[in-house]
């Protein structure tokens, strides 16, 4: 056993204590936090600059959709 083994085993021991349902919520929470971040992005960052844009050109909608699908997947599986 080296010091590296000791470090690894310590981390491993701590991570083993985390219950899997909590981990699942961690995954989903990460995705939800990203969804919240996407929603608050200013429109200037998510639409074409210098011209009027249609609703479907707002990238926020599609990014949100991609994340919502992820939340669904990690909730089910």
């Amino acid at each position: 056993m080296t010091m590296l083994h000791w470090i690894g085993d310590t981390f491993r021991g701590q991570l083993l204590l985390v219950p899997l349902p909590a981990v699942r919520w961690l995954f989903i929470g990460l995705l939800l936090a990203l969804m919240a971040w996407v929603v608050q992005l200013p429109s200037s960052e998510t639409t074409p600059s210098g011209r009027h844009s249609a609703w479907y050109e707002d990238l926020k909608i599609w990014a949100w959709l991609a994340l919502m699908f992820q939340v669904f997947v990690y909730s089910v599986f």
């Binding site: 981390f11 981990v23 995954f27 990238l59 990014a63 991609a66 992820q70 997947v73 990690y74 599986f77």
Partner: protein, 549 residues
């Protein structure tokens, strides 16, 4: 897989002819070095987005993920879901627009603007060596898989794929690679979708498929070895406890096969800390933000908005990919439940050979070829771009004009094609394990590259010296961990393995990333801050200045 018929070959030849035609057509518009390396910064979002996805799915992944999902279950879906989508979206709105606005051609070029020429040359050299070797490995892997799938001669496959990819990359550069990727992406998605639809219909529809998967997983979990019998008579309470433990283990294994979130002590390559910290927080951002073969496409987008849109579109597509590459593995599990662990890699070829009729088999082989060619071409254009921009132009001909850049770009492409064929033939004696070794080697560089990129973009206090020391410290960490975990070294040192999973490359990336960050912070603290003309390339100062270069 059974032999292909003339109808299958007709389908494959049509695909190859279409690929070549697109590549040569794009090549007819290439007039300068900028056209060659960044497609004249005129690429539309839909082409870049599809190209990102096609590049990401290698041919080996197509077969490998199918086999791994047969063996380990849907956990392999993590590599396209949480292992791609969050990083792609953060890259889309934060990092890619910044790189696009900085008007750079390569990631090392950005590192020189923000830090120093030493860091640029170091990062470029490490990536170039790995990419050049990987080119040969990809060609060899293509030939090995084509030999398994369709009994093609390996030498002929190596030379054939190299010449075909070489011709269209030589002709059209990045534009040809991206537009052929669009065709390759469509063929790849179509080919995999076909297997999924035909496979599920063959099993009696979606509901029947789900029931049969549960039954197959249950049967497989029960096959695990029972506890060894004891020599003495046990009390009935001990026997009951053992039986209860066995049932619990069976249920756990069954649950693991159909779950994305696996415990720390799983035997699969996806325990949750590796997936969350290694894949989602290091490897994936490193791949989508710091890997030249991926980022170069978005640097060629026609506007900042199109570069962002490409990544968002790619993220949407990536959400669907696991259904196309993981589900075939589950279909194979239902149809051929008795494959041994070392035969799982053959699950998808077996499915294709037995399930698909004449003609459609050719379409699947075309899809497979598409995935292989898209990987090879992405390495080819990225290696060429790094060599020409970060070495030839930077150190040898700083005043080379656009015509000279185009010429040297094309000849470098030809040189790399020749090199990759030689490497592939040289490596034929190493066997298939060389592919996974090189994939692991690539993973060493991702963590340190991401760490110095983030440190440079997010903090103006990070110094050039700090980043350089940090980069090498990260490389040293990952190489040391890999070496110490080798069986021969462990036997020699008489110590247990450092990691308890079979392929711990996600863990290497975490530690390499952390080592780079720590050393960068420490050395930046003790060294002089960079001058304003360097720190202006950090994200916040750039925004405050309004992006004036």
């Amino acid at each position: 897989m059974t032999h292909l018929t003339s109808v299958d070959y007709l389908v494959i030849l049509s695909y190859l002819a279409a690929t070549l035609a697109i590549g040569l057509w794009v090549g007819s518009y290439v007039r300068s070095g900028s056209d060659f390396f960044l497609a004249g910064r005129a690429l539309p979002w839909w082409a870049v987005g599809m190209s990102l996805v096609a590049t990401d799915i290698g041919g080996a992944d197509l077969v490998g993920v199918g086999g791994d999902s047969y063996r380990y279950g849907i956990v392999m879906g993590n590599f396209a879901w949480i292992g791609c989508v969050p990083a792609m979206l953060v890259a889309a709105f934060v990092f890619i627009p910044h790189l696009w606005r900085c008007n750079v051609t390569t990631i090392p070029e950005y590192l020189e603007r923000r830090f120093s020429v030493q860091l640029r040359a170091s990062v470029a050299a490490v990536w170039l060596v790995l990419m050049a070797c990987n080119l040969g490995v990809m060609l060899l892997a293509s030939a090995q898989f084509m030999s398994e799938l369709a009994k093609w001669d390996m030498s002929l496959s190596i030379v054939g794929v190299a010449i075909l990819v070489g011709i269209y990359t030589w002709s059209g550069g990045l534009g040809a690679v991206v537009y052929t990727d669009v065709l390759q992406g469509i063929v790849m998605i179509g080919g995999c979708l076909m297997i999924v639809v035909i496979g599920i219909c063959d099993l009696g529809g979606v509901e029947s498929f789900i029931d049969k998967v549960h039954a197959a997983v249950h049967a497989r979990a029960r096959q695990a070895p029972a506890p060894a019998p004891t020599m003495i008579d046990e009390p009935s309470s001990v026997t009951r406890a053992k039986e209860k433990l066995r049932l619990t283990k069976t249920k756990e294994r069954e649950r693991e096969h159909l779950s994305l979130v696996l415990p720390v002590d799983t035997k699969s390559p996806g325990p949750w800390p590796a997936i969350l910290f290694g894949l989602a927080l290091v490897m994936s951002p490193g791949y989508w933000i710091g890997n030249q073969r991926i980022v170069q496409r978005s640097l060629g987008a026609k506007s900042e908005y199109e570069a962002k849109a490409a990544y968002v579109y790619g993220a949407l597509l990536k959400g669907l990919i696991p259904f196309l590459v993981v589900v075939p593995g589950l279909i194979a599990l239902v149809k051929y439940p008795d494959l041994a662990a070392d035969q799982a890699g053959g699950a998808l070829p077996m499915l294709v050979g037995r399930l698909l009729p004449e003609g459609l088999r050719g379409l699947f082989v075309a899809a497979f070829l598409a995935a292989l060619m898209s990987s090879v071409s992405s390495y080819l254009i990225a290696a060429t771009t790094i060599y020409v921009n970060d070495f030839y132009r930077r150190f040898y001909r700083p005043h080379a004009d656009e015509g000279q850049m185009l010429l040297i770009g094309r000849w470098t492409t030809a040189g790399f094609v020749l090199w990759s064929v030689c490497v592939a033939f040289q490596m034929m004696s190493f066997g298939q394990s060389i592919y996974s070794v090189f994939q692991t080697l690539m993973s060493f560089v991702v963590g340190p590259t991401l760490a110095v990129l983030l440190a440079g973009m997010l903090s103006s206090r990070t110094s050039s010296e700090g980043a350089l020391v940090g980069f090498f410290a990260g490389l040293f960490t990952s190489v040391s961990l890999f070496t110490m975990n080798l069986l021969s070294v462990r036997t020699w040192l008489d110590m247990p393995p450092l990691f308890r999973i079979d392929a711990p490359y996600l863990y290497y990336s975490i530690w390499a990333f952390l080592a780079t960050i720590c050393m960068t912070i420490v050395f930046s603290y003790f060294s002089r801050p960079d001058p304003a003309e360097k720190t202006r390339y950090s994200l916040w100062e750039w925004r405050e200045e309004g992006g004036a270069a």
